[in-house]
Point group: C2
Chain length 143, copies 2
């Protein structure tokens, strides 16, 4: 998916935020990479590129863009990586504690649980990128 086909700029302006060259650069970097980029990779690229920007600005904008769902943050052993967010289908992850393998599962896997929690506690969960840990089929089979 490209962020060109998706008008995130107007969405920001509509909400009273500004579209700055710094924000566009970060979106471009994440999009062009085509893979998850770590905060440091983005900082490094952004320090030199035009416009040359400060690490604090990068971090602030990564948080900002993630909160507005334009990016999506993924924790990966202590560091944070980013991929394009936006209209992407939400989904959850299963991560194996042993081999580190990562399985994506559809977001409706949790809908039954969420519905039950709402019935029982009146609480409406909205986490759409759960990360669950455990052991995958292969690692369960080989102790």
């Amino acid at each position: 998916m490209s962020h060109d086909t998706w008008n995130y700029q107007d969405a920001l302006r509509r909400d009273g935020y500004r579209v700055t060259p710094q924000r566009e650069r970060i979106m471009d970097l994440v999009c062009q990479a085509g893979m998850r980029l770590s905060a440091q990779q983005i900082c490094e690229a952004a320090r030199s590129g035009p416009p040359a920007m400060n690490d604090a600005t990068v971090y602030r904008n990564l948080r900002f863009l993630t909160e507005r769902k334009l990016l999506r943050a993924i924790e990966q052993d202590g560091r944070t990586c980013y991929v394009l967010g936006g209209p992407a289908a939400s989904h959850h992850h299963l991560i194996c504690r042993r081999c580190g393998d990562e399985i994506e599962i559809p977001d409706d896997a949790t809908s039954e649980l969420y519905a039950r929690l709402e019935r029982r506690y009146g609480f409406r969960v909205d986490d759409d990128h759960l990360v669950l840990h455990g052991h995958c089929r292969a690692c369960l089979a080989t102790p």
Copy 2:
């Protein structure tokens, strides 16, 4: 619950780890507090107390004790807090994004989901302290 009624020392020794005064002090602090303590609170108390210990030692042991389930870590706006772990019943948390209220729910709330994930993907989840975010009944009612 007290950690005296629960022989965590032998559990450590059995696994080839050592029971050091530093580790015992940290366990004592968390137990006597009777409430969740932040890493900094523990550092501060441990710096002066006998044995006087280094912050790095505290952090290393908090991680160590948490990995061995003798303590349990709770994230709280960017900081980590700790409570006694051990034989305590496991449970999950629902945290309201608006009022910050925290609801504890029994750990078997997720057993149906976990069973389904194992059937469908061969993946056995073992997270026993899930933290789910959303909105509580009161906040849903008052927009």
